[in-house]
Amino acid sequence: MKNYLIPLAVLLVAGCASQPTGPEGKLRFAIDSMKRDFQAKGIAGMDRLEADKLLQTCNQTGNKPKPDVAEAIEAEQAVAIRLPADGTHMGDWKEGEKLAQSGRGMTWSDKAGQPNGGNCYNCHRISKNEISFGTIGPSLVGYGKLKGTSLEAQKNAYSQIYNSKAFSACSAMPRFGHVGALNEKQIKDLVALLLDPESPVNK
């Protein structure tokens, strides 16, 4: 915002005039305000304010789309999941644990080309040994004991990390594979962390 000293009469009048009433109008006004008041910084470009169809729906419905809409979204997201071409889904749980610990990546203070962290412990309890865990997502302690290590279980875990929205349309969890935040090897290592009987998750 330039010319901080000049009361932005025109803008303000316009603002008042377009001050919205309905939920959809308010949402549009909020997004327009953000597009005006935000600026690209580092790797975080302004394109990040462009919501895809899924986010538009979640924003418009307060994250509670009607069941048929939710199902359609989930199906659309599921179709875009790319499972590993080599048919294997479990990597090294030790690497997975390191990844789960790291909250780095994708912010404007992160450098381009650096590998992103999984951010997992920010929201989930995972290994019993880590006392510093978040609770926005459910506890995953013993996940592998419950799910086993069948190919189907591996594919499921891989898919959930790849794109949680294929399972729950407006899930709070990022679509790590879908947006390219985590690569195939990283997701495999996280699947191993969750499912491997040797992982501290299942010990």
Partner: protein, 275 residues
């Protein structure tokens, strides 16, 4: 279709799964950790390096500066020219002379420009300092907010523009965007959640706003510096993986207005000492 079956068969990662694993021993363990952290905070007590900022800020406030070579003592923070005591508690508010809703930082900046004659470019040069070199604004803000210790948070929220700012802030709070699909509400929209061990206030509710707002601005031990509310909002968007909200922009001031109005009635405690 196979994937649809898979989706139906699997309990969502964000579904009931967690509850089924919350055995009593785990719950107990969690409580011990939180109790330990509370003990830690209690031991840190009242000794807060924010006081060093306050001392510097007071000196800077009273020292003639800028092209006009006058101090900020003539600055009107909303309660009349020269009144600092209690002024922060009644912001953000609409300022007739500026024709906009301003938070405390925007207003101090306004005074630097109009009273002291400092250019906008200079004022914007370095809003957020570092541990080694705090910004002038961080010192000034710490001084001004500390002078509202013990006052009830009471932004007017009566002028149409103040009400519009509140509404805009509330709307922005819920907008999901960016590569991780985060909104402010993703982390601050539910009761009793945490990131790692840090408890997250549910900022859609008055009670949690009241608890959270009274400790900001705050000295953070993880960065060894005082952070202002403008910085706090800025860093939330960084963690949301969004582009940067411009310093003192309408969107940021709207979010601060939203939180301040939600916190109305709480007694301001002054800069807190935080993780």
């Amino acid at each position: 279709m196979k994937k649809r079956i898979m989706a139906a068969a699997l309990v969502s990662l964000c579904g009931v799964l967690g509850l089924s694993f919350a055995t009593p021993s785990l719950a107990q363990k969690k409580d011990e950790t939180i109790a330990g952290i509370e003990k830690y905070r209690e031991m840190l007590g009242d000794d807060n390096p924010a006081e060093l900022y306050e001392m510097r800020g007071e000196a800077a406030w009273k020292k003639p500066a800028g092209p006009n070579n006058v101090s900020l003592e003539k600055c009107d923070l909303g309660l009349g020219a020269g009144i600092v005591k209690g002024a922060y508690a009644q912001t953000p508010r609409y300022f007739e002379d500026a024709g906009r809703v301003m938070d405390i930082e925007s207003r101090i900046a306004w005074c630097m420009m109009t009273v002291q004659g400092i250019s906008e470019a200079d004022m914007r040069k370095r809003p957020f300092g570092s541990a080694d070199k705090p910004s002038l604004m961080e010192d000034l803000v710490t001084y001004v907010v500390t002078a509202s210790k013990g006052f009830k948070i009471a932004p007017p929220n009566t002028h149409p523009q103040e009400k519009a700012a509140f509404e805009l802030g509330q709307s922005i709070f819920h907008v999901r965007a960016g590569p991780y699909d985060f909104s402010c509400a993703t982390c601050h929209g539910q009761d009793g959640k945490r990131i790692r061990l840090q408890e997250l206030p549910n900022l859609t509710k008055a009670a949690d706003n009241q608890r959270a707002y009274i400790g900001w601005p705050a000295y953070r031990v993880s960065t060894s510096q005082v952070h202002s509310m403008q910085w706090r909002i800025n860093d939330c968007f960084r963690q949301q993986r969004l582009p940067e909200p411009k310093y003192m922009s309408e969107s940021v001031n709207a979010l601060i207005t939203y939180m301040a109005v939600m916190a109305t009635g709480a007694e301001y405690k002054g800069p807190a000492l935080k993780r």
